[in-house]
Amino acid sequence: MNTKLLCRGALVLLAVLTALYLVAPVFFVIPTSFNDSSFLEFPPKAFSTRWYEAYFQDPAWINATLNSLQIGVWVTILSVVLGTAAALAMVRGRYPVKALVSGLVLAPVLVPYVIIALAVYAVFLEMGLTQSVLGFVLVHTALAVPFVVINVSAALVSFDERLEMAAMSLGANRVTTFLKVTLPCIAPSVAAGALFAFITSFDEVVTSVFLAGPDLSTLPVQMWSGVRVQIDPTVAAVSTMLLLVTLALFASAGLVRLFRARRLAEAA
């Protein structure tokens, strides 16, 4: 019995340390960003918002942020449209070489990004697409679209097709049925896919570092150059803002899901 208790204790201790290790960097960055020193001491000796001011006053950072937002929105739209259509086909349709197509659709997540970056950079350089919004949107969409397909096809698999039959037997045509019955049912998964797509683009470093240049840079590229050679303390402020935004987005997505689950549970 004692050994069992000892095992449990060791297990709990290990898990606590692992959990700390998982969240430490995230929670370390937040206080560090309010440092007065450019050496980013921890704990900060004096509180200051100078790195936030530095961010908002530097047009390079602001432009990079705006570019990232613009690219992210286009990527979200494009990958939701392409991905939802493909998910419908993959779950319900018939077409030749199905397994091969599934492999192709998942491949961008599985192939190392360095390879994709190199390959796309080589082609885009010849086509004049480097340092262009279009170039970024195309690559990021390829990387983001699998997440939409995975999310939406999971929803479609569990969707009860009898609801559609019911709608049609009550006189709705195919389009109305899709828009008024199918789409609302899969909407949360489409939204989750869209969120993933946006964040994939907004966070993407490797392909962006290849495609960026003096004419067009994104937020991760700007951060990359602020860490790579010499540490730019502004990165700490940017990191904190990014953390708060992504955590808020995911937390709200989680809450929405929780509410829906509760409503469904009450309805049942």
Binding site: T3, C7, L11, L14, A15, T18, A19, L22, V23, A24, P25, V26, F28, V29, T32, F39, F42, L82, A85, A86, L88, A89, G93, R94, Y95, P96, L104, L106, L110, V111, P112, Y113, V114, I115, I116, L118, A119, A122, V123, A142, P146, V149, I150, N151, S153, D203, V205, P220, M223, W224, V227, R228, I231, V235, A236, S239, L242, L243, L247, F250
Partner: protein, 298 residues
């Protein structure tokens, strides 16, 4: 003791709806075409072009591959890549397995907290976390301060720009990818099997290792392979946390391109990395359904 056979939860699948006329391509099927066309142009064509380039630039033939496999310097990079990925996989397993196991035992509130701890890094930018490690592991960083304050070391030890730095950074990135699938596998295991073994006289430890652990094996194997595969293609973390001696193949590709503009050689390296990745993925697909694996959680 008579006992009802436990129904495997979720094993029953709803009967497949009657299929429509057997046709090769139907209306729904057409909807996959835009995405396929898009990926062929943006993703496949560029990959084919670097494959071609690896055989033609600067001279036609196998020169780039001969350079790579003939040079100890480059083979070292390949060796580093496998060594670091193997270590990352090992540490991830050693930390992730007990963590996932404890998640199955913990009461719901604690389980959810543990899940949040796994999801937080999953949700936050890789670059932000790597940046945090750069600060934390530096000579004057928190980790060194802490180790000195408890008297474990007298002067700052180097934790960054070497293998330690790469491991700390990469394991933190890969842990969620290992914990979530292992937890999913472990949750499906019927704990009464362990009780039965103990009831029949097995000591708890041997009941765990001989009954429970083998049942987790498919999930564990798949997690390990996926962690290993993802690790060999890493670029950002090793570039920021590793030293010149720990260069991995991803960094070599970028270096060959940006520093010396050897397009053909960089392409050949990419092809080698791609082939290794593909071979390992083929191995994983023998064990699990990859699509399910990636979308199964969340």
């Amino acid at each position: 003791m008579p006992q009802e056979a436990g129904d495997a939860p979720g094993a029953g699948s709803s009967p497949a709806p009657a299929r429509r006329r057997p046709r090769i391509l139907d209306g729904w099927g057409l909807l996959v075409l835009p995405l396929v066309a898009f990926l062929l142009v943006v993703f496949v064509a560029p990959l084919v072009s670097i494959l071609a380039r690896s055989f033609t630039d600067p001279t036609t033939g196998l020169d780039n591959y001969r350079d790579f496999f003939g040079s100890p310097v480059y083979l070292d990079v390949l060796g580093n890549t496998f060594r670091i990925s193997g270590l990352v996989t090992l540490v991830t397993l050693l930390l992730g397995f007990p963590y996932a196991y404890l998640m199955t035992l913990a009461p719901p509130l604690w389980r959810n907290l543990m899940l949040v701890a796994v999801l937080i890094p999953f949700w936050t930018s890789l670059l932000v976390r790597t940046f945090a490690w750069v600060l934390m592991l530096g000579d004057t960083g928190v980790v060194n301060q802490f180790l000195m304050s408890i008297g474990l070391i007298d002067e700052p030890t180097q934790l960054i720009r070497n293998q330690t730095g790469v491991l700390v950074g990469m394991v933190q990135v890969m842990l969620p990818y290992a914990v979530l699938p292992m937890f999913a596998t472990m949750r499906q295991i019927d704990r009464r099997l362990v009780q039965a073994a103990e009831g029949l006289g097995a000591r708890p430890i041997s009941a765990f290792w001989r009954v429970y652990a083998p049942l987790t094996l498919p999930g564990v194997a798949a997690s390990c392979l996926l962690v290993f595969i993802s690790s060999i293609g890493f670029y950002v973390t090793p570039a920021l946390l590793g030293g010149p001696k720990d260069m991995m193949i991803g960094e070599l590709i970028v270096q060959q391109l940006s520093a010396v503009l050897r397009w053909g050689f960089a392409s050949a390296l990419a092809v080698v990395l791609l082939l290794v990745t593909a071979a390992l993925l083929l191995l994983v697909s023998r064990i699990v359904n990859i699509g399910k694996f990636m979308g199964g959680e969340r």
